[in-house]
């Protein structure tokens, strides 16, 4: 049994920012991560991070209020407005802090941080480092974690939460390098494990973005909020769904259909390619459905050619490399084939704006959490911001929780619960290892991710969703027939990926049921059978409550309004 005051699951931006905060306050903190923290999916973020710095001449009078308005409007009024304003106020100091810690932002001639236009923003507000902003921010925080000697357990796959007397008291993890399971007993746990993109087959997300961290909280009785809101990024590479940043369009790239038209003129004439992601993704998909995909196929072009080689080299070098390596297309001379791709999980573990969940001692931050600051549609540049703002706030909240006596509760009960959880995980693995290999976990996984893509995609409709839910439930019934084909040892991918599958399936069901029950269209949730937003009935969050033997139960929760009156959303 290993003991720390605070265990953080996940070493991406949110987890590391929380760790740095708690460590600075003298807390004994440990980060457990499935990969070396520098390899976390935060590092794949490209375009930038929003803050009302007012560095760009066009945005010289930018304010956190304006940033909040754009975010709330972008969210289709589902975001909690107090939380959004909190985030936009925290944004400028958070950027300056990351900059002082060494983050290599791109600069203007006068030495200030450069800002580029992004979708759904009134003017250039997105701070960036070329098109590798996530990589630069992540490495900066990894560096700070080393500098502050944060304890890091690297390549630990966390399987379960330890709960004693209604309080979260640690985690059980599989040590991938040495093999074997270990209990980590703590006074508080922060989950910061990222999104659930891999529940879809057409995602931009890293392979480790399974949603498993959110599933652990969900299994422990914490609701998942607004899971039906799934962001499709307008521009994923056609064959691999690898992200082509919104920064391409921020720098002036066009979207073109088979007729060579800049079709966004029809859908968002005032902002064209810089409409918010939900609207842009739907526009592209409509072009494809109406037969104007390139050569009648299911993709359109992202055209950078008119930007010229020099601007591409300076502002979008990573995009050029990715397009060449993964699509065989050089954007300097050819348009890039792209297709809308699952990109971001707006929903997640239900928290307040300090990362607090309903389970005492359990906190969550980053994409796995739902505060909610993104509502029904996240604006580009707000997810990196969310990680460092709410990572810090969750770290601070734990410090206060521990100072207020949160650390003094029943250590003996925690140890008993830890031993029990460890034993039950081991029993389960033994059982899986002994089972005859009846079902192949990867068949089930493939059917699940294809169901999510086809039945819960950009456009949704009741009958199709009902079929999808039935399919997911039938897959859930097949889970107990899986047998592992490799037992024990180090780096047992068969075991990790089988355990992950169970969590992924429950998270997918939460998305599916939320989408089916929400009889309106709002932000990313577009129903052909309910095409309008319905503020009278649905200006509220959904909460999915885990039920082991069937679909989740759904409850609702009010949206925090007060700053901005909901209006029709037009661009």
């Amino acid at each position: 049994m290993i003991r720390h005051q605070l265990v953080i699951v996940g070493g991406g931006l949110a987890g590391l920012r929380a760790a740095v905060e708690a460590k600075a306050a003298g807390i004994d903190v440990a980060v457990l991560s499935q990969v070396h923290p520098g390899r976390s999916h935060s590092g794949a973020a490209q375009g930038g991070i929003n803050a009302a710095l007012a560095n760009n001449p066009e945005g010289h009078d930018d304010t956190p209020e304006k940033h909040a308005f754009d975010t709330v409007k972008g969210s289709d009024y589902l975001a909690d407005q107090d939380a959004v304003y909190q985030m936009t106020q925290d944004a400028p100091p958070a950027i300056f802090e990351m900059e002082h810690w060494g983050c290599p932002f791109s600069r203007y001639d006068d030495g200030r941080i450069a800002q580029r236009p992004f979708g759904g923003a009134g003017f250039p507000r997105t701070c960036y480092g070329a098109d590798k902003t996530g990589h630069y921010l992540l490495h900066t925080l990894v560096e700070q974690a080393y500098r502050r000697r944060v304890t890091m357990y690297i390549e630990q796959f966390v399987t379960s939460l330890i709960v004693a007397d209604g309080r979260c008291r640690g985690v059980v993890a599989y040590d991938m390098v040495h093999g074997g399971f270990e209990a980590f007993v703590s006074d508080a746990v922060i989950i910061a494990t990222g999104g659930a993109g891999r529940t879809y087959s057409n995602t931009t997300n890293a392979i480790i973005s399974t949603g498993f961290g959110a599933a652990m909280a969900y299994h422990a009785g914490v609701p998942l909020k607004d899971m039906e809101f799934v962001q499709f990024h307008p521009t994923g590479l056609y064959t691999t769904n690898i992200l082509m940043t919104e920064g391409c369009r921020g720098e002036g790239a066009y979207l073109l259909n088979d007729l060579g038209e800049r079709f966004m003129e029809k859908y968002a004439p005032s902002v064209m390619e810089l409409a918010p992601r939900d609207i842009t993704a739907r526009s592209i998909w409509t072009e494809i459905l109406e037969g104007r995909g390139i050569g009648g196929k299911d993709y359109v072009y992202l055209d950078l050619r008119h930007l010229g080689e020099q601007k591409i080299a300076e502002k979008l070098p990573g995009i050029r490399d990715l397009a060449i390596h993964f699509e065989g297309v050089d954007p300097v001379t050819e348009p890039i084939p792209i297709v809308p791709s699952q990109h971001y999980t707006m929903g997640g573990i239900d928290t307040d704006h300090d990362g607090v969940t309903v389970l005492p001692g359990l906190y969550a931050a980053g994409e796995c959490a739902c505060v909610s600051v993104h509502g029904a549609n996240r604006l580009g540049g707000n997810s990196l911001l969310e990680t460092i703002v709410f990572g810090r706030r969750a770290g601070k909240a734990v410090v206060e929780f521990l100072a207020g006596g949160g650390g003094r509760a029943a250590p003996a009960a925690a140890e008993v619960a830890a031993a029990e959880t460890l034993a039950s995980v081991q029993t389960r693995i033994d059982k899986l290892s002994r089972a005859a290999a009846g079902e192949n976990a990867y068949d089930i996984r493939t059917e699940m991710i294809d169901t999510m893509k086809l039945n819960f995609g950009i456009f949704r409709e009741a009958r199709q969703m009902q079929e999808g839910i039935d399919k997911l439930l039938s897959l859930k019934e097949r889970l107990p027939r899986i047998g592992l084909r490799h037992a024990g040892g180090a780096f047992n991918l068969d075991m990790i990926r089988t355990i992950e599958l169970e969590g992924m399936l429950d998270v997918a069901l939460a998305t599916a049921v939320g989408a089916f029950k929400r009889t309106e269209s709002r932000g990313s949730h577009a129903r052909t059978d309910y095409p309008n937003r319905d503020d009278e009935h649905w200006l509220e969050h959904t909460l999915a409550l885990y039920r082991p033997d069937g679909p989740p139960e759904l409850a609702v929760k009010p949206v925090a309004l007060g700053m901005f009156e909901p209006q029709e959303r037009k661009y």
Binding site: V35, H36, G38, R39, S40, H41, G43, A44, P93, I95, F96, E97, E99, H100, W101, G102, P104, F105, S106, R107, Y108, D109, D110, G111, R112, I113, G129, K132, H135, Y136, H139, E143, Q144, Y146, R147, I154, V177, A206, I207, I208, T239, T240, I242, L243, G318, D321, L322, H325, F326, N440, Y442, L484, R485, H486, G489, A490, F491, N492, L493, D494
Partner: protein, 240 residues
């Protein structure tokens, strides 16, 4: 439908007496990356195969391997673009092994930590504005900040093979990244950690690191800059 034949080096130091090569045939349509091929084998043919993975888009540095005798990221390597014949996949050589294609990176990251890979500057807490940096000063960082810490350069460096305490190209490139940063005020704080018998003088400009780097970076250039800085410091008391 096409087929690719993978020849994969397998070894579990816990249980195997010696490494062996296993052969798998992977059917595919369209394109197949080496990483996709490894997943297909792990899912359909041999559940015991192990390898590192994460982003599958060449930004996380997890899947560095030795493929057909060259350092590559498995996710960025298209089977169709390799010469005809078997796709031979081995772990990065000259590193301790966990199992199969997974190397032990403990020393690699210990050396990274040793050179103090963070911006050293007084009074960094709760700043009210950014530290100004000209685009020209910022451009000096373009090359070293793109390092993904995959370990290819480190595995490829004969000086690392010959001297286990040598910090190696990746850690020194990181030192360079901060020493050339106009905002860094380390002066003498980081210097002793690369200006020593474990540090820059063990680089003999063999330049394997440049050839190995999947991001086409130039650690050798950074190390030569550090050498120059260290020598100037000794001769004239000046670092930058």
């Amino acid at each position: 439908m096409s087929e690719a034949r993978f020849r994969i080096k397998r070894f579990d130091p816990e249980s195997d007496a010696a490494p062996r090569y296993d052969t798998f045939v992977v059917p595919y349509e369209g394109n197949l990356t080496v990483l996709e091929g490894l997943f297909s084998i792990q899912e359909r043919q041999d559940g015991s195969l192990c390898f590192r993975y994460c982003c599958r888009a060449a930004v996380c540095g997890s899947c560095a391997m030795y493929i057909n005798g060259r350092y590559r990221l498995a996710c960025q390597t298209n089977v169709g673009q390799l010469p005809a014949g078997d796709v031979t996949v081995e772990p990065m050589p000259h590193l301790p092994l966990v199992r199969d294609l997974v190397c032990d990176m403990t020393d690699f990251f210990a050396k990274y930590e040793y050179i103090k890979p963070w911006l050293i500057r007084e009074g960094a807490d709760e700043p009210e504005r950014e530290i100004p940096q000209s685009p020209k000063a910022r451009r000096k960082l373009d090359m070293p900040i793109d390092c993904i810490l995959c370990g290819c350069c480190y595995s490829s460096c004969p000086s690392v093979w010959g001297e286990e305490n040598y910090l190696g190209p990746a850690a020194l490139l990181k030192a360079y990244r901060f020493e050339v940063d106009s905002r860094d005020q380390a002066r003498r704080e980081r210097l002793p950690n690369f200006d020593n018998e474990r540090g820059v003088y063990r680089c003999h400009t063999i330049t394997n690191c440049m050839e190995a780097c999947p991001k086409e970076l130039n650690p050798t250039e950074g190390i030569q800059w550090l050498k120059g800085a260290a020598v100037r410091r000794r001769l004239f008391g000046r670092l930058k």
